[in-house]
């Protein structure tokens, strides 16, 4: 191509070796190289510790404290760093910054940034940094350095700064974000580049900012008024340039923006639905491929925010107003979702409700998607999820109700098959919500499907109903069904 140099043309052996290295490391979907600390405890203890961490986080979330930055710092007594974060003053920070930028020796410059980064682990240093004029600007310069190590250390400094309890840091970075994204996104993912690490750090910093209490009033409107949403969506486009770590951070950013419901219509006009839909397809494809190879997948980190964004966006009235291109109508999305549901069932069951939530939002008002579920033979797999948990069961039954409520043509395709036996099973549950949803579905079947009542009676349906006659939330519906069954 005119005007460009290409990698070809190098003839000495070493660069060839490098080329081989590059191509083998470009599988985006394989688990990242994790440099683990040597473990001094067993696997069981790790699991136990993880459960404790989870419990602590749940508690924190209920108390609305999950955003608190200090929880991100795992107070791990085994941390073998061997030093304590030192408080640095403005003068020292400035000195380190100057050294980092102007030092003559590479190692010297690196060391200066490392010292700065360590200092930044302390909140007082963070505040001093923010107060120092020009510090963010210098950091921005280092984040785009053409020296890999400096760039990486600068990214780590940014990480540390993102933990500042004050949102002033992330706010200070916000103006530079467009600039940084332009600079950093232009790379090719063939190379392992600190650009990606910086991008990821930036996404992370932004995600922290977007969770601030005042975000919906102050920060999100200005983010939406900038080209940032388009940048973010670009970073989520599936294809050879997609980087998992980067995509995860920006997907979460999008989620925080969307669930704050400031101006989702704008995102829809930028094509968010189609971008995220394509990304979902891509994720499902990757799940299929790696399951064969038995490789571990970190895709669930990306799946969660993508599912949430799609589900919430679908509820916007604006969806109807945009052209077909911008909507989500492709039935491959349903196929992708089921592939992901199967994956979640094995690897990450806590994501099943989120996946089913999307399925609900896809099917509720769409005869087309309901038809897809029928024609793709997905009812039986769906019903197989019924025994997972109460929450999952309610959602599964709700989706089937979405289909059944569209009338006889739909109920006919739900019948016969495993539906009735499954319903009789769920009627044996003790959870009121599960039973309640089963009753709703039964009413629809009785109404629209000839033969449903007889089959129900033949399979001892009345006995199944009986046990709930005294339950307050259920009794009226139970009686109504009993009447229909007995008197037609």
């Amino acid at each position: 191509m005119r005007g460009r140099y290409r990698l070809s043309g190098l003839c000495s052996p070493l660069p060839v070796l490098i080329l081989v290295q590059i191509s083998s490391s470009s599988t985006m979907w394989s688990r990242r190289q994790r440099r683990l600390r040597p473990l001094s405890c067993g696997v069981e203890e790790l699991r136990c510790r993880r459960r404790e961490r989870e419990a602590a986080l749940r508690k924190a979330r209920r108390e609305q404290q999950l955003v608190s930055k200090r929880l991100l710092r795992d107070e791990d007594p085994e941390k073998a760093e061997g030093y304590v974060a030192v408080i640095l003053g403005e003068a020292e920070i400035q000195q380190f910054l100057r050294l980092a930028q102007r030092g003559t020796e590479e190692k010297e410059r690196e060391k200066a940034l490392v010292s700065l980064r360590r200092g930044l682990q302390h909140p007082e240093t963070q505040q001093a940094f923010i107060r120092l004029e020009g510090s963010i600007r210098t950091l921005v310069g280092l984040l785009t350095s053409n020296q890999a190590l400096l760039q990486l250390e600068a990214a780590r400094c940014l990480h540390e700064l993102s933990h500042s309890e004050q949102s002033t840091v992330a706010e200070a970075c916000l103006p530079a974000t467009s600039y940084l994204l332009t600079y950093l996104s232009g790379h090719s993912s063939d190379f392992i580049s600190p650009h990606l690490t910086v991008l990821e750090a930036l996404g992370y910093a932004l995600s922290q900012l977007l969770q601030a209490k005042e975000a919906p009033e102050k920060i999100i409107p200005s983010v939406l008024g900038s080209p940032l949403p388009q940048h973010m969506l670009q970073l989520l486009q599936p294809g050879p340039k997609l980087n998992l770590g980067v995509a995860v951070e920006f997907a979460w950013c999008l989620h925080y923006i969307i669930c704050s419901q400031v101006n989702n219509a704008l995102l829809i006009t930028h094509g968010a639905l189609s971008t995220l839909g394509l990304l979902l397809l891509d994720l499902a494809g990757a799940v299929q491929r790696t399951e064969d190879a038995g490789l571990e997948l970190v895709g669930e980190e990306l799946a969660c925010p993508v599912l949430r964004c799609l589900s919430n966006l679908l509820t916007e009235a604006a969806v109807e107003a945009v052209g077909e291109q911008m909507q989500l109508r492709d039935e491959r999305v349903v196929a992708a979702l089921f592939i992901l549901l199967q994956f979640f069932l094995q690897k990450q069951p806590s994501l099943l409700p989120e996946g089913l939530w999307l399925l609900n939002n896809l099917t509720a008002n769409s005869p087309s998607f309901c038809t897809s579920l029928l024609s793709l033979d997905l009812i039986e797999p769906l019903l197989q999820l019924l025994s997972v948990s109460n929450v999952v069961s309610v959602l599964v039954l709700t989706v089937v109700c979405n289909i059944a409520e569209k009338g006889p043509a739909y109920c006919q395709r739900l019948w016969p098959g495993p539906l009735l036996p499954s319903l009789l099973d769920t009627l044996a549950f003790s959870d009121t919500e599960v039973v309640g949803q089963s009753l709703e579905l039964l009413q629809l079947l009785f109404l629209y499907q000839p033969g449903a009542v007889q089959a129900f009676l033949q399979q001892s349906g009345l006995q199944a109903l009986q046990r709930h006659e005294e339950v307050a939330q259920l009794q009226d519906r139970v009686r109504a069904l009993q009447q229909t069954a007995q008197h037609g």
Binding site: E81, N146, C304, S311, L378, K406, Q443
Partner: protein, 260 residues
């Protein structure tokens, strides 16, 4: 959970929506005591529905940040040199070389040898600097495209564009577009990293009226107190050397001059 085999084929197949079956509702459906109505659901941020996913996200972050805070070991290789003509940067880790190559050699203009951080910016540069048709068109219409992807603004001059970048997209005000090549030194064969004012020994005060080129080079820390003249010079990273020219290039470290 058993998925029908045809599903995987469907995923790989063409986009399309299913032709919907006819919808026919009975008014009795969902009436008292029943209450079902098909309905999309939205959840706001703090909803407890998100608890599980939020907790997983947090655990992921804790893991990631632990890695970030630790100092990773970097695999070292025997020292080697960048093979690009005129560049004698030395490396002992592959990541560093890749990064170096990518930022300084990959997107290089074959006309003027300037290096750009991305293909997009290189293309923009070629269009604006080496395409005579562009110049002709630019006389009559706004041709200078905003650099920020997603912004469709175009401008009459590159100075106007820079103004826009600074005011609208909050680019740093002292963000540098490189000056055109008016340097007094001999043409450098290596990557077109700009030479500092001191090295050329000349007066390198930029003139804002010059057409600007698209390149990402950054200034120093905040300017010294206003009495002092601002150094608009661009640093050479100290380990890059030129075939001839800039005196700074010969500051010695033991890594240098391995490949001459």
């Amino acid at each position: 959970m058993q998925l029908p085999p045809a599903l995987h084929a469907r995923l790989a197949g063409a986009p399309g929506e299913a032709e919907p079956l006819p919808v026919e509702r009975d008014p009795a459906a969902g009436t008292t005591p029943f209450r079902f109505a098909a309905r999309q659901v939205r959840f706001p941020r703090e909803h407890e529905f998100f608890e599980d996913g939020d907790v997983q996200r947090h655990l992921y972050l804790q893991d990631v940040l632990t890695q970030v805070a630790g100092d990773p070991e970097r695999p070292r290789v025997p020292e080697f040199t960048c093979q690009v003509a005129g560049c004698c940067q030395v490396f002992d880790a592959l990541e560093d070389f890749e990064h170096h190559y990518h930022t300084l050699h990959r997107n290089v203009c074959s006309f003027c040898k300037r290096a750009f951080p991305s293909g997009h910016l290189l293309d923009t540069h070629i269009l604006e600097w080496h395409d005579s048709l562009f110049q002709i068109l630019a006389e009559r219409q706004d041709m200078y495209q905003c650099l920020v992807e997603g912004c469709t603004e175009k401008f009459r001059t590159s100075r106007d564009r820079k103004e826009h970048l600074v005011t609208r997209h909050l680019y740093p005000a002292d963000f540098r577009f490189d000056k055109p090549r008016k340097s007094k030194g001999p043409a450098t064969p290596g990557p077109a990293v700009q030479v500092s004012a001191e090295a050329l020994g000349g007066d390198q005060v930029p003139s804002e009226g010059d057409a600007m080129e698209v390149c990402f080079e950054h200034t120093e820390l905040p300017p010294e107190p206003s009495g002092e003249r601002r150094t608009y010079g661009h640093r050479i990273p100290s380990t890059i050397c030129f075939g001839q020219g800039a005196s700074r290039g010969f500051k010695s470290t033991k890594k240098r001059n391995k490949h001459q």
